[in-house]
Symmetry: C2
Subunit: 425 residues, 2 copies
């Protein structure tokens, strides 16, 4: 059983919008055992859309379409569906009622164009959208399922969770038994792809096919991280989990110190859990990362239980005034230095009364480089009641990537210290 | 002239990685007049990859492939290319030298697997990669161009800028003359898609075809924003720019107050430019946005010229201690209130000595809601020497989206105040 995901929209083809919807739909389908074999994006053009419907409907069991269901003139997916299935569009009163409700709630009059939103192909099951005005549509034909969901990510996700995915699971219940697909992604940080590859060694010891069970390992580099994805396909749950756990154990043997998460938690969540468990509080003093360390930490629900506060001290003056960095330190060593990072980390800790202080000072770029201080250089400071230190790192040249990577490094310095991991880099 | 973009990688098909590369390649191609007519993602499987090469090579003039060129076992794009073009792989000394240099620079021994990186199809032009180990490859055949670039975004982008795009421009110079494609995206904020659509009115007055010139308008909703994309295709530069400017003028007539950018600048850059021009400095006091307002402001190069500092006061205690919010205010009105937002904005302004103070206090969720204070509620405070006020907004229920939208609202409140724009919402 295989699925195709079709995205409709010129905005994707000209590269203006990144196709996050296709990623979402694929991961949802994969999670219920219907892997996606092909993703296609087509323009807002009748001929192209219908031609893609035709070829996907021929080769795949499940066809999901996203985009082009909105109220504006460039949305033509629904009329293409009606044409492809030779179905009439009929007014659905329940959808109309919901559209009217949406506008009442926002306290604005309903533009007439929104009545169109309530027209659905007569042969379609309506996937109700309580979060927006365009409903999802689902058509069963010849043992296959064809469904279309709106392109607004939040609405699409809600419709999938509430209606589409449960419908698919129910419909294909039998077909999906007797074949189990599971996957797991392990997150590593602070190690390069080929060094990690070398360290892991013979991947055949981890991957391979045996007794109808297949194990695959993929390396997925991202900013400062390499994710290791293990995908297992097996005849039953037990074999699948045995093979998966076996692969995980082997990877753990080889690279435990670099692995920060076995359950796709971001580094800020992992660090947050350690802090919560150890009943420690933290504060952050930031220069080059400009608030991104605090923002990452506070992405985690209930982070208020361990995160006390953050100070973004962008100028020398505010480093002195808000964090108690000494004027003489700034004069002698500069703002981007081990000494300043240390005083910032100690300063925020004392000022906040938190157990730990973390600091960042570096050169995010594109300007600001000085002799021996290139763009990309960052000092990360750490301070608790027993020890205060700083470490330097250097990565890349692009401002936004620098901010992102430097923030992750700060969190990784924290993780290693909290877990007493020592790595020589 | 049309292009196809093929992405190779299971990680895309299972939805683990969002395909930002395809977006990048498409926007680059579009910008030189070669629109992408189709984007496809295929699995790391020989048969699928080669079959897609075949069908794309038949229908398109330019075929760009990304992904699967790395040093690990799951990278098979290069051998598929060699098979498709029936070419031998030969060692390229210059590539090998570069691979060795990369490892020397990082001060780590080169894993043997990396010698493979220097093997290239004998009929390929090598697109050298100074930023990583996998080179790009380009093959000309039958007036068409087939090129493959690595999937690591930074390396791919550099290879495109330096080698691939110039090569395409040169090769298709004649074919690309006599047909001009331009596009412009206008960013609006704080207005819903259908209300904006209603306000703009008859889109035929803006779009349409005339004298061989076609104008298209698309609505692209994102968090709290609607982008309006105008795409023009015309026989020459003059007609194209005339039609584009005409469309822009009409949109401006209808929705000027909601438009914050005509050149794809993010809101933080637009606000930064206004502050710089007016020679005003700013500081931010954040609760629910947890540092994201400061992080957005400091995403802009040289923001240090107007951004003095930020304080993330996550607890009541730190609101009192770091920002001077009155205990009695917190007791009487709560942390999420007009009164607290006002005291935070005034507090950070006075503490920092900046001209303006901005503040956020709200409920990012998922927990923390109280009577009359649902998740998604935010108060934005503003303070300068003449006026201090706060406004409330309410959007959605998801923590990360709330942080993102609330930060944008804070920047939009700032923009409207600085430009003296009054909107009743």
């Amino acid at each position: 059983m295989k699925a195709a995901v079709i995205t409709v929209g010129d905005e994707i083809l000209i590269g203006q919008v990144v196709n996050t919807n296709a990623a979402y739909l694929s991961s949802k389908l994969f999670s219920i055992g219907i892997p996606v074999g092909r993703m296609v994006t087509v323009p807002d053009e009748r001929r192209e859309i219908i031609s893609e419907f035709k070829s996907s409907f021929k080769s795949f069991d499940v066809i999901l379409v996203t985009g082009g269901l909105g109220p504006t003139h460039d949305d033509i997916t629904k009329t293409c569906i009606a044409e492809f299935f030779q179905a009439r569009l009929v007014l659905n009163q329940k959808v109309l009622k919901n559209v009217k409700r949406m506008f009442r709630r926002r306290n604005i009059p309903m533009p007439q164009s929104n009545v169109e939103q309530a027209m659905v192909p007569q042969n379609a099951v309506v996937l109700y959208n309580r979060w927006g005005t365009a409903p999802g549509l689902l058509i069963e034909q010849g043992g296959k399922i064809f469904a279309a969901v709106p392109g607004v990510p939040f609405e699409m996700q809600k419709i999938c969770e509430k209606h589409l995915i449960p419908y698919l699971k129910k419909t294909f219940k039998e077909a999906l038994s007797g074949r189990v697909i599971i996957q797991k992604t392990i997150h590593t940080i602070g190690i390069s792809e080929s060094v990690l590859n070398e360290r892991i060694g013979d991947v055949n010891r981890i991957t391979g096919t045996k007794d109808g069970t297949t194990v695959k390992l993929a390396f997925l580099p991202a900013n400062y991280e390499i994710r290791l994805r293990i995908a297992v396909e097996a005849p039953d749950e037990n074999s699948a989990h045995w093979a998966l756990n076996n692969a995980i154990r082997k990877l753990k043997d080889k690279a435990a110190n670099y692995i920060y998460s076995y359950n796709e938690s971001p580094i800020e969540k992992v660090v947050g859990e350690i802090l919560r468990k150890k009943r420690l509080t933290i504060s952050a003093a930031e220069s080059c990362t400009g608030g991104l360390v605090a923002s990452k930490i506070t992405n985690v629900p209930r982070s208020s239980e361990y995160f006390l506060n953050g100070i973004v001290a962008y100028s020398n003056k505010s480093k002195v005034k808000l964090l108690g960095v000494k004027d003489s330190t700034l004069r002698k060593f500069g703002a981007v230095s081990r000494e300043t990072a240390i005083e910032m980390a100690r300063g925020i800790r004392k000022k906040s009364g938190s157990d730990i202080g973390i600091s960042t000072t570096g050169i995010a770029g594109p300007s600001g480089a000085a002799k021996n201080k290139p763009v990309g250089l960052v000092w990360i400071g750490y301070s608790d009641k027993n020890i205060t230190f700083a470490k330097d790192f250097i990565y890349t040249k692009d401002r936004l990537r620098n901010k992102e990577i430097m923030s992750k490094i700060a969190l990784e310095v924290l993780r290693r210290k909290l877990l007493r991991i020592t790595i020589n880099n």
